[in-house]
Symmetry: C2
Subunit: 392 residues, 2 copies
Amino acid sequence: MTITSFHPPRRTLMGPGPSDVNPRITEALSRPTIGHLDPEFIRMMDELKTLIQYAFKTQNRLTLPISAPGSAGMEACFANLVEEGDKVIVCINGVFGGRMKENVERFGGVPVVVESEWGRAVDPVKVEEALTEHPDAAILAFVHAETSTGALSDAETLCRLAKGHDCLTIVDTVTSLGGCELNIDQWGIDAVYSGSQKCLSCVPGLSPVSFSDAAIAKINGRKSKVKSWFLDMSLIMGYWGGEGKRAYHHTAPVNQLYALHEALCILQEEGLENAWERHALHHRALTAGLAAIGLEMLVPEKERLVQLNAVVIPEGVDDAAVRSQLLNAYNLEIGAGLGAFAGKVWRIGLMGYAASKSNVLSCLSALEAALLKQGYSFKAGESIKAASAIYA
Amino acid sequence: MTITSFHPPRRTLMGPGPSDVNPRITEALSRPTIGHLDPEFIRMMDELKTLIQYAFKTQNRLTLPISAPGSAGMEACFANLVEEGDKVIVCINGVFGGRMKENVERFGGVPVVVESEWGRAVDPVKVEEALTEHPDAAILAFVHAETSTGALSDAETLCRLAKGHDCLTIVDTVTSLGGCELNIDQWGIDAVYSGSQKCLSCVPGLSPVSFSDAAIAKINGRKSKVKSWFLDMSLIMGYWGGEGKRAYHHTAPVNQLYALHEALCILQEEGLENAWERHALHHRALTAGLAAIGLEMLVPEKERLVQLNAVVIPEGVDDAAVRSQLLNAYNLEIGAGLGAFAGKVWRIGLMGYAASKSNVLSCLSALEAALLKQGYSFKAGESIKAASAIYA
């Protein structure tokens, strides 16, 4: 056995995440490790909490990063809020809604599924029907930005409906945080989780979460212990709470937290709303370019995510061959379709640091080259021209 | 709000973990992020699996790092192996045995507690009594190296007892892996978890785990789904299994895995047995030094961990003042006592990269300075002399 140091190739990451990481962030990641109970580290934790509150637009005191990827953030929300027998209305319009249902079941809840078409927003009419039909439902859960399809749902409306029926809300914002409008307090979201590796352009492995006072009240009123020690928010609060002495819970992933702190400093420097606008600009350029060579988007314009673009693969074009060519000849990663869309769409991410003019232009030109090789018929150079016109 | 980049101080980490990180590892951490489904990343994952098998001395095919800290690794073992009503014999001789009991309860198991004195090894006689008294017990769980007290238990004997009573074993090796003898296959351990931030000297945030075929059979024979989606080994196997196509489960913490890969490359270069010997050597030097200035160890010699040294705080010496002085004047972190030992012991870690002659000598000299300030009576310089004699 002779295994030596691993030196990864340098890729441009325009898939569904991880996205391109700002070099400032990888530099922060490699700063000296200090103890997780060091006074300097605790000061950093306080700042980090403030920065996450800024990104989420919330004053929620229970706002912190879970020490694990977005899937664990999802689990933190469901494990803490769902109790045996709780009825939870789960909206499914893609892969991640399905995972929410799994979570409800594993924690003893009773899921009521509201299906919407994949590639479309969650249908508020269907949600209102379900809320009316199930007045005993305790929670409404949905995905704000479906990473598997590129569809954006109207979180504000869905949360208003939930409040009107006395339901708490659990919202997946893994792909939305930092990339498009998200307003936890104004919209009245009760529990929210996200990921570090999408529009924050941080390395993968952390999941910012936030809980409203109503959510905390439900957690504090639980009859049974949370079916997880690692994700029990009542214990995690003792470590992140900031009220008096920190109680040791688990060893924090120190260096990753440096990286998230740096990512959020960068977001704050740019300004949250400016970051949303930047994502929208590059989305307009990318989609103008794609349209100019006859490629269609999966999601109708009004329900489209700007940070994740699901492009319909034209007939006769070999999905895997194109993605391989982009990766091997251009070091460019774009995403495959997931679930029902495997082989049918590409997912082109414009997230965080990857949402840039140079990335849009080089992606379009690489894609043109790959499509040419596939015998797909279009007028070469038109995508670049159309995208450049948006930037002009 | 003006929060700027966080620049941590440079500390010497001689507490209970995280330990000093080898600069090679922080450099690896900052290498370019690539996609978690990139062919190059998947090749790295295969190597990482082989390296973890090497460190654990196992051929177990289900061997991989959980994408979260050691507490999540613990939870992965209990969530998957314990089913509703399973009787689990849990040995408690410190904080982490108590956490095991919490895990058993949260996953619906029935814990049978075998208490041993804190600061001592788990008593095999008591364990055998419990196994005899509870022939229906399914699992024996214990901590190999109790980080809270510095006691080492005889894992080989305990596992043999368990096998004799047809019990699976779950063993906490968070602090033992890489620091002292650990032999998963020879000892017949069925489920084991560890941490990246102790004797592997990697950054905190990952938990290497390994499951025997007997453990996998129990997981595959479960009547109910695991009460966690994130930690469900039957799903994680699909991503790490290496048999055919990788199924997407969650986004791997890419950069942290680079770091763990590098940490294990370093271990392999040194040689596992050489690393154990190095830890033992510096332990002998440290304890000789401490004894020379009249400081006593908490744990009897034969049950003592070499990588974590619990030192009794002499009467009249202010625990917090000494630790503060070490941290502020010497940038040296040592650990406080946990639980029943708060204020009564210091925990001095000699883990991984921190197990070095220069660390032993500078820790002893800083400690002498701090004790002098406290009015503790001893002959100055004796600790350095005694430690140096070991190295001579």
